[in-house]
Symmetry: C2
Subunit: 318 residues, 2 copies
C-alpha cells in the first residue's frame, strides 16, 4: 500500500495531482455541441475519481470548436454545478486574442488551471516566438490566480517546449507557470523536466497512462489521458496505490486496455465505447475533419471489449 | 509578345487569372490589426497590376487573427472602396462554424472567391474527413455565388488534396469548386492537377512565382505568392508577356529576387521591406509566435536590396 504521506505530499504540491480526463465533446445531430451530455459525462468522470477535467483538449476536438462554443460550454458546465476548481480547460489557440479571451474567462470562472497549447499553424517556431506567445497571454490576462499548464504535444502542434524555454518562462512567471502535460510519449523528456524543474514548483503530467507508474515513481503529478474518458477508475486506483506490490500488474492491465483503443482512431473509438456503454448512439458523432468508426470497426471493438468483460459502471444512470 | 487571345482565354476562364498577393497584415503597436495601412497596401497592390488579393493567407498571419478580426478587416476593406470581386479571402479554419461564418460573409460582401485551408490541427486526415469538411462548408453556406479555391499547402497544414478527393469535390459541387492554390512547391503535382481537371473547369495557381512561367505554359491560371507583396509588377509583367522571347530571362530575375527573400524568415522579411520602402517602421510588427527580423538581419537585407536597386514605386504616396 502507498504511504498516506506520499499522496498527501503530491496533493499539497498540486491541486490536480492524479488522473485527469481530456473530456470528449458530444455533438447533437446537427453537430452543435451538446451541453447536457457533456456535463453528464463530466460528472461521471469526477465520480470515477478523476482529480480534474482537462476539457477542450485534443481528445475533446477542441480545435474543431469555435471560441464562442468553448466559452458557452465552459459557462454551462460551471452553471450545471461542476466544481470549477477541478477544471483545467484548454485555452491555447493560434490567435492570441482567442487564447486571452478563453483564459480570462477560465480564471474568472474559478478554474484551477488552464492547459495552453502553443499556436500550431506556423512551423519551426523559435523559442523567442513561443516565449512571447505565453508572455503576452500572461500579461494580458493579468490575474495572479492564473495557473498555466504548458501543453507539449509536438506530433500534433509541431511546436514544443525546450527546457531552456520552460526555464525562461518559470523565471518570468513563477507560480503562474504551474506545470506541463507532456504528450510526447517520450518519458526521457518528462524525466529531464522533472529533474530540472519539478516536482516542487512544476507539475509534470504524462499524456498517456502507459507512463503513469514511471512518472509517479519519478515524482510526477499524474497523467492526463484520452482513455480516462472510459477507463478512469483503474487509472485512479493505480495512482492511489502506486507504492503497492501489485502496481506493476495494474500498470500492465492499463497498457493492455490502451493497446486495444490504439488499434483504431482514438477519438472515434472512445466515442463508440461511450455510445455503446451508455446505450446512447448520439455519442458517436464527431465533427469533420474526423470521421466515426465504420460499422465493422465498431463491431470489432465492442465485441473485444465484451470478451474482456469491460464495463462503465454507473454510466447509464449518470 | 503574347498573343492577346491567350490572355483573353485565360481571363474568360478565370476572373482571377494573373498574379495574386496574399496580403501582409499590418499591426498597431498593441498588435491590433491596422485597417488603414492594410487598405492602403491593398490599393497599392492592385495599382501594381495584381489580378486579385488573397487576403488572410499564410503570409497574412491569418491564423494569428481571431475570426472577429478577419471579419472586421474584410468589411472595412470593402467599405474603403476596394472592389470585392478582386478579393479571395482565406476563410478556412480548424472549426467548421468559423469557416462557415467567414465564407458566408465573403460571399455576401461580393468576394470573387474564397481560399479555403483545410483544418490543420489533426494529422493523417482521411479523404472522407476532408470531403465532409468541404461538403459541410458548401452546404451550410448554401449560396450559388460561392467559389471555393482549395488551399494545398501540406508542409504547413499537414493535410493535402489528393486527385481522388478533388475529383469527388468537383463531382459534388461543380462550378463552386473553382480551383486550387498549389503551394506544395512541386510542379509535378500542379501538372497532374492541370491534366486531370484543368484548365477549363479548374484554375491552378502555383504558390510561388518560381513556377509561374512553367504553370502558364502548362495552362495554369497564375500564381498567388508572398513576394507579390513587394515585387508584384515584374510578376505581372511576366504573366502578360509569357509568350515573349524574354520570358525565361524575366523568370530568372524573379527567381533571383525570391532567393534573396527566402534567405530569412519570409513574413518578417517582407514586412521589413515594406517598412523600409514606405518609411513606416510600424510595418515591422508581427504577432507572436512570429518574430521580426533582428537589426542585423534587417540591415543585411535592405543593404542587399539597395545594392540591387530595388524600389517599390508609388508606395510612399499610396
Amino acid at each position: 500500500m502507498v504511504s498516506g504521506s506520499t499522496l498527501e505530499r503530491r496533493a499539497a504540491r498540486s491541486p490536480f495531482a492524479g488522473v485527469l480526463a481530456p473530456v470528449l465533446t458530444p455533438f447533437k445531430h446537427d453537430l452543435a455541441p451538446d451541453l447536457e451530455r457533456f456535463a453528464r459525462h463530466c460528472r461521471w468522470l469526477l465520480a470515477q475519481g478523476c482529480s480534474g477535467l482537462a476539457v477542450f483538449g485534443t481528445t475533446s476536438e477542441a480545435n474543431s470548436l469555435s471560441v464562442d462554443e468553448r466559452s458557452e460550454l465552459l459557462a454551462g458546465l460551471v452553471a450545471s454545478g461542476v466544481d470549477p476548481a477541478r477544471l483545467m480547460p484548454g485555452t491555447g489557440c493560434c490567435a492570441l486574442p482567442d487564447s486571452v479571451r478563453l483564459t480570462r474567462e477560465a480564471v474568472s470562472a474559478g478554474c484551477g488551471g488552464v492547459l495552453v497549447l502553443p499556436p500550431f499553424y506556423y512551423k519551426n517556431l523559435s523559442d523567442e516566438g513561443l516565449f512571447r506567445t505565453y508572455a503576452e497571454l500572461v500579461e494580458r490576462v493579468g490575474d495572479a490566480r492564473l495557473r498555466v499548464y504548458l501543453y507539449h504535444i509536438p506530433q500534433m502542434s509541431m511546436a514544443g517546449f525546450s527546457p531552456a524555454l520552460i526555464e525562461r518562462l518559470l523565471g518570468a512567471y513563477p507560480r503562474i507557470i504551474a506545470g506541463i502535460k507532456d504528450s510526447s510519449g517520450d518519458f526521457a523528456n518528462s524525466k529531464v523536466l522533472l529533474e530540472s524543474f519539478g516536482p516542487d514548483r512544476f507539475d509534470v503530467f504524462v499524456g498517456t497512462e502507459r507512463l503513469l507508474l514511471q512518472n509517479l515513481r519519478a515524482g510526477g503529478a499524474g497523467c492526463i489521458s484520452a482513455t480516462a474518458n472510459v477507463n478512469a477508475a483503474p487509472m485512479v486506483a493505480l495512482f492511489r496505490t502506486a507504492e503497492g506490490d501489485d502496481a506493476d500488474a495494474q500498470q500492465a492491465k492499463l497498457d493492455a486496455f490502451r493497446a486495444l483503443i490504439e488499434k483504431g482512431p482514438v477519438i472515434a473509438s472512445l466515442k463508440e465505447i461511450v455510445a455503446h456503454a451508455s446505450g446512447d448512439p448520439a455519442w458517436r458523432d464527431v465533427r469533420p475533419p474526423l470521421v466515426e468508426l465504420t460499422r465493422a470497426q465498431a463491431s470489432a471493438l465492442t465485441a473485444e471489449l465484451e470478451r474482456r468483460g469491460f464495463a462503465m459502471p454507473g454510466l447509464r444512470g449518470a
